[in-house]
């Protein structure tokens, strides 16, 4: 009898070692919040995307109609897609190259005060996008702005409506703000990654007769391979979510010339109340993000 009891308690202990129920208690509060405020709404969006809903009256199931409309009957959405793709292509390349260049100069050039340079480059990253928007809207202002004043005093001609008011230039003007805000981040990550590259590799490359470019190609780039992939993916993801910047500068204007998908979702869902439609657009946005990041990772891994 006694023997049996100890057997059972040993068994119980064994089960507990495999499955400690206390763990669920520890996870419960965090998971209630994550499930209710993140996971559940994500599924709801998917369900909403198959309905016609204005936010108040009963939802009407319409199947794939929203998706079909989006791609066949919404020139505004196409504009938004075009701008978003441009932005993602620019955002996942230019700041990455700039970051590699600067990190290379800072680390390989054995620059004194490198920490200070890095800190200054990073500063725009810590302020809210709205503050960046406030500052740059003023810089770009055609009447009182510093950029206009500088160009005028140098006698260089400039667009009359300013940069943010010009339909052809507005995306580039916004991209400059994005670049200003993001290259410090890429520089910081690449600097850390470069510092962990074995310096003996550089000595070996030098003995093999590699110059500055040779060392860069054969030592630096391979050493940064993993970091480049991750940063490219992160920058691509970041480029999809430029709602803040657009909202605080141009509100998609002039006309629709700075519409991006995430701003489109906002106007459809909260301004004109085509909620089901907006849900479909945000599903498309999410699929885009998944496809782009998967593609980047696929090509990088294939090249390895």
């Amino acid at each position: 009898m006694k023997q049996e009891l100890t057997d059972i308690s040993a068994l119980k202990r064994k089960v507990r070692e495999k499955n400690n129920p206390l763990a669920y208690l520890f996870l419960l509060p965090a998971y209630i919040l994550i499930l209710y405020f993140v996971c559940w709404p994500a599924l709801q969006t998917l369900a909403l995307s198959f309905t016609d809903w204005d936010g108040i009256s009963p939802k009407k199931f319409v199947g794939l109609r929203n998706y079909i409309e989006l791609f066949t009957n919404e020139p505004m959405f196409w504009e938004a897609i075009k701008h978003t793709i441009l932005w993602v292509v620019g955002g996942s390349t230019i700041p990455v190259w700039g970051g590699i260049l600067l990190a290379n100069l800072l680390v390989r050039g054995q620059v004194r005060l490198a920490k200070w340079f890095q800190m200054i480059y990073f500063l725009p990253q810590v302020i809210s996008a709205v503050i960046a928007a406030v500052i740059w809207k003023w810089i770009y202002d055609p009447l009182f702005g510093p950029l206009a004043a500088i160009l005028d005093s140098l006698g260089i001609s400039r667009p009359a409506a300013g940069w943010l008011g010009n339909p052809d230039l507005v995306m580039y003007a916004l991209f400059v703000i994005f670049l200003w805000g993001s290259f410090g981040y890429t520089t910081m990550i690449f600097t850390a990654a470069l510092q962990s590259v074995d310096s003996q590799l550089y000595d070996a490359a030098k003995i093999d007769g590699c110059g500055f470019w040779g060392q860069f190609r054969h030592v630096t780039l391979p050493g940064l391979y993993q970091a480049v992939t991750t940063v490219t993916v992160l920058m691509a993801i970041g480029s999809f979510g430029i709602f803040d910047l657009v909202m605080a500068t141009t509100k998609g204007g002039p006309g629709y010339s700075s519409y991006v998908i995430s701003y489109y979702v906002y106007t459809q869902g909260f301004i004109v109340n085509r909620v089901g439609f907006a849900a479909a657009a945000s599903i498309v946005l999410t699929l885009f993000i998944l496809i782009v990041t998967r593609t980047i990772i696929y090509f990088r891994e294939r090249n390895e």
Binding site: Y121, V130, A132, I139, W180, V231
Partner: protein, 277 residues
């Protein structure tokens, strides 16, 4: 590169400094503008240094509209979010690092998915859910989703650092009769000081700067946080750049101060976020 030629080194420094200057210029511009009056800007042009520095702009701004309330809201939201995230993420990452339980892989997958969910994907139902439970247009409408959105990264980061603490330490404590909560409080937390600071700084910056959540989830002026209030100011006082500049500087100062003080921790957090994957 042992010693590049003198000229080359000079060029490198020149290039790096030029970029640094271009990066700080917008900050300096907004700082100088915040110390001007609109008269200065009209008479002397946007670039000129003002004759007298109008420090009183920094006193007057608190009486403009609801600026004081925006600031208070930002402080309240940030403090509540950061405190909750730290506590919840600590107790949630402990089982992932040290306990065995069924469904561990699946539950951690939810964390990894949570890292990737774009705000755009959840914002529409979030709005309607908060409306139906009566939280829309309260500060909770910003606080609760912000906590939920911050948890995955914080849990991911803390679990990563917890795994580096040897489990043998906990085993010996368990044999000495210490329970799991005591383990967490007296053994793990004291050893997690640096990553905890990263979690605090990261979430504080992210919450303070968040724009999309409060823009959509609160619509009354007295509930706005600084970024939303600032955005409202710049449409309301379009012609008064010095006022907007002052408000912008005050909104940016806390984050810049936090960054300069905790630079190292921010870097650690970034590295984990980017490279430890």
């Amino acid at each position: 590169m042992i010693r590049a030629p003198f000229l080359g080194r000079g060029l490198v420094y020149f290039f790096l400094s030029a970029i640094a200057l271009l990066t700080v210029c917008p900050f300096l511009l907004v700082l100088v503008t915040s110390l001007k009056t609109m008269d200065d800007i009209h008479k002397r042009g946007p670039m000129a240094f003002p004759e007298t520095l109008h420090w009183h702009n920094y006193v007057d701004i608190w009486k403009v509209g609801n600026f004081l309330l925006y600031f208070q809201n930002s402080v309240v939201v940030t403090v509540v979010v950061v405190a909750s995230v730290v506590v919840l993420a600590l107790i949630a990452s402990y089982p992932f690092a040290y306990m065995k339980f069924r469904g561990k892989g699946f539950l951690f997958l939810i964390i990894l998915l949570g890292l990737m969910v774009p705000l755009d994907l959840i914002i529409i139902p979030l709005f309607h859910n908060l409306k139906s439970i009566g939280l829309l247009n309260t500060l909770w409408a910003i606080i609760l989703p912000q906590i939920a959105l911050s948890l995955p990264f914080s849990i991911f980061l803390l679990r990563g650092f917890m795994k580096d603490i040897p489990a043998a330490l906990l085993e010996s404590a368990r044999i000495d009769g210490s329970n799991e909560l005591q383990n967490l409080l007296y053994i793990i937390i004291p050893m997690l000081y640096p990553p905890l600071v990263s979690v605090i700084v990261f979430n504080a910056l992210g919450t303070w700067n968040n724009f999309m959540l409060p823009t959509i989830l609160v619509q009354q002026d007295h509930l706005r946080t600084l970024p939303v209030g600032l955005n409202y100011f710049q449409t309301k006082y379009t012609m008064d750049y010095s006022k907007i500049a002052t408000a912008a500087v005050i909104s940016a100062l806390p984050t810049i101060a936090v960054y300069v003080l905790f630079q190292r921790n921010i870097t650690t957090g970034m590295m984990v976020g980017a490279l430890k994957e």
